[in-house]
């Protein structure tokens, strides 16, 4: 009998991640693709040639996948909690910022979910907000955070709403404000929103930051500074949900 393999697939609004773990729970494969307009077709493409014994789906597209692949599902809350805990076994607080939602999860010492809160009815405080602001300011999203770290001062952005904030940024550009200081204002605006949620839901210990936005160094620094707590970013932050689902597929008999 060969090595058993368990897959987790996280079908998010912007990207799909696939993680395969072995019988010991070690990651043996991770793949990523853009969700596009046909998540199932993208999922099929991603799974092409990938070997696994069992698969579990998470993310907002999990129910589509469940029907098409007759696979069990888990919510992104539990999946991210498990994934974060796999990266940092002592984690009590998890922040995940994805393409269209952000969530904070508090964990018990055992790793079980104690409480969670999601912001999912509005783009404020999500990856989408940062993406739109980066574009308005002419940044490549990958460089947005690192360049903003060099800002010397912050221009306050008062609008929480993505649509209003975009026009606010446009008018600040027109007033000749420096691009970096506006960018810092944009990051600070997301940070304040997310920090409030963390303080409310998960006030203890270091924060494990997962999801695509965790790669933004400026946001991590601002959060750590504001909360006076460590902000830990796993190397494969974006794969936390898929990893959690894969680990759960492994546990499920």
């Amino acid at each position: 009998m060969g090595m058993r393999r368990f897959a987790g697939i996280d079908i998010g609004s912007r990207t799909i991640e696939l993680v395969v773990v072995d019988g010991a729970g070690q990651v043996v494969q991770s793949l990523k693709a853009d969700t596009g307009f046909d998540p199932l077709a993208e999922a099929r493409r991603l799974l092409d040639g990938v070997a696994y014994d069992r698969i579990m789906a998470t993310g907002y597209g999990r129910n589509l996948f469940e029907i098409a692949f007759e696979a069990p599902t888990v919510t992104e809350i539990k999946a991210h909690a498990l994934g974060a805990r796999a990266f940092f076994p002592q984690a009590l607080s998890v922040l995940d910022i994805g393409g269209q939602d952000s969530k904070v999860i508090a964990l018990f010492d055992t790793g079980k979910v104690k409480k969670f809160e999601m912001n999912d009815r509005c783009a404020a405080g999500t990856g989408k907000f940062l993406e739109i602001m980066a574009r308005t300011l002419g940044y490549d999203i990958a460089a947005f955070g690192d360049d903003t770290l060099l800002a010397e001062q912050e221009t306050t952005i008062s609008s929480m709403c993505t649509v209003f904030a975009e026009s606010e940024v446009t008018s600040l550009i027109a007033k000749g404000q420096s691009r970096r200081s506006i960018a810092l204002g944009v990051h600070a605006s997301v940070m304040r929103r997310v920090a409030a949620m963390i303080q409310r839901v998960a006030p203890e210990g270091d924060i494990v930051f997962t999801g695509g936005v965790a790669n933004n160094g400026c946001l991590r620094a601002l959060l750590s500074q504001k909360l006076g707590r460590g902000v830990l970013c796993p190397a494969q932050a974006q794969f936390a949900g898929a990893l959690g689902a894969a680990l759960l597929a492994r546990e499920t008999v």
Binding site: Y60, V74, T75, I77, K78, K112, K115, F116, M118, D120
Partner: protein, 426 residues
């Protein structure tokens, strides 16, 4: 629906085209949400019939009562005492407020950030689709939250027969005096409407009739404490919703019949869901017909609802009115006493409500509480934060939901509720 009903609706001034749309939507969602359930008690067939005839046979009955000289009183709130209406030979019915209708028309009269329940009451009037409202000889509004009391000022221009009842907001002696004075004023108004003077005999009979209805519901609620839960939360909610519409004696008999069946189910350890299904208590804003959104999502996410801390639920039906009074004054005092205990969030402070939530969570062996708040419902949304905090201090998981009647957040709600169910499963 038969042609006879169509001419009945037309005579009442309903907009037949819009009404067809409403009945179509109602029928479809009932089919998808209710009839698709598994392991339903047979006795629910009665409620299926009631719902299929909710704008048909029941309205015809009300019109027949009117033709025989009875008056119909429509109300929006559990503070309007059915005992007083019945004692004066009037029938009390709940008025429609559980679905979005004619939203654009409503938003010409009410601010957009008004709760869905108030908007719905206006929508049914403006869209001319509520036969209960159109058949009512008297429509009773009540000064509960700010949204409602200001909205009634506007509703007063849309209907000719609006009566507004004032309500206290503090459980003090002064508050009790306000409620008492208002119930006597209401009594006089109903008597003037019907031309019938309430006597000790008619009031006693009315108290007994309404108590019998409450006792039947209490019996149903108590049976939900069993594991496996013998009835789904959706079906129990429906019984609580129909409480406001149906003929009281028939309702009582039908609920008792279901209870007989549920007792047998419990003895056989049969349930609407398997044993050990995670048990949820819903607490918060009322869920009027056909607002089945939350229980549908909860019960299709692997949990069962075992109680409703709600006006359409235990807040509305808790406590009987004492039947010991001999005079009209004594019985009116008993009515005031009973209703003054209702722990609506318009009261300040409102510690009784939190105590009831904790008590219900324990009694029904709930694994978690979902606090259901309608968007823009300030009193319940305000209370949801201390409620959540208090429950968490007692290690009772709590999920606060803020939503409205639209289905646009159904996906997001499903994710949260599934995650909450995973959380309580551990």
């Amino acid at each position: 629906m038969s042609d006879a009903y169509r001419s009945m609706w037309a005579e009442m001034g309903l907009n037949l085209e819009a009404h067809d749309v409403l009945l179509g939507v109602l029928g479809n969602s009932y089919k998808e949400i209710y009839l698709a359930q598994k392991e339903r008690p047979e006795g629910m067939g009665y409620f299926d019939f009631v719902m299929s005839e909710v704008h048909g046979l029941r309205i015809k009955e009300l019109l027949d009562e009117k033709a025989a000289g009875r008056k119909i009183v429509g109300a929006y709130c559990v503070f309007v005492p059915e005992e007083i209406a019945l004692a004066a030979n009037a029938t009390l019915v709940g008025l429609c407020s559980g679905a979005d209708f004619a939203v654009e028309e409503v938003e010409k009269l009410l601010p957009r950030n008004t709760c869905a329940l108030i908007k719905s009451a206006f929508g049914f009037k403006l869209g001319k689709v509520c036969p209960y409202l159109e058949s009512a000889d008297m429509i009773v509004g009540e000064n509960t939250c700010d949204g409602k009391k200001k909205a009634y000022e506007t509703l007063g221009h849309l209907v000719k027969n609006l009566y507004v009842m004032d309500l206290p907001q503090v459980k003090s002696e002064n508050g009790r005096a306000v409620l008492q004075a208002e119930y006597f004023r209401f009594k006089a108004a109903v008597e003037a409407l019907t031309g019938v003077t309430i006597t000790a005999e008619s009031l006693k009979t009315a108290i007994q009739t309404v108590n019998a209805k409450r006792k039947a519901i209490h019996r149903l609620l108590a049976l939900r404490k069993a594991d496996p839960a013998p009835i789904s939360g959706l079906d129990a909610l429906l019984a609580n919703q129909v409480f406001f519409y149906d003929n009281p004696a028939r309702f009582t008999a039908s609920v008792n019949k279901i209870c007989d069946e549920l007792e047998k189910r419990i003895a056989e350890k049969k349930g609407a869901f398997p044993a050990k299904t995670p048990r949820i208590l819903i607490s918060g804003c009322p869920q009027a017909v056909p607002n089945w959104k939350l229980p549908f999502i909860v019960e299709s996410s692997g949990a069962v609802i075992v109680g409703e801390e709600s006006c359409v639920g235990e807040r509305g039906t808790r406590n009987l009115t004492s039947e010991s009074g001999q005079t009209v004054e004594e019985m009116m005092a008993a009515i005031v006493e009973r209703y003054f205990q209702v722990d609506c969030a318009i009261f300040t402070p409102n510690a009784e409500r939190l105590a009831h939530i904790e008590e219900m969570a324990a009694d029904y062996k709930a694994d978690g509480v979902i606090h259901y708040g309608l968007q823009f419902c300030q009193p319940y949304l305000m209370e949801s934060i201390p409620v959540e905090k208090a429950l968490e201090e007692k290690n009772i998981p709590c999920l606060r939901i803020e939503t409205d009647y639209s289905m646009e957040d159904a996906g997001q709600l499903k994710t949260r509720i599934e995650a909450f169910v995973e959380q309580i499963k551990g």
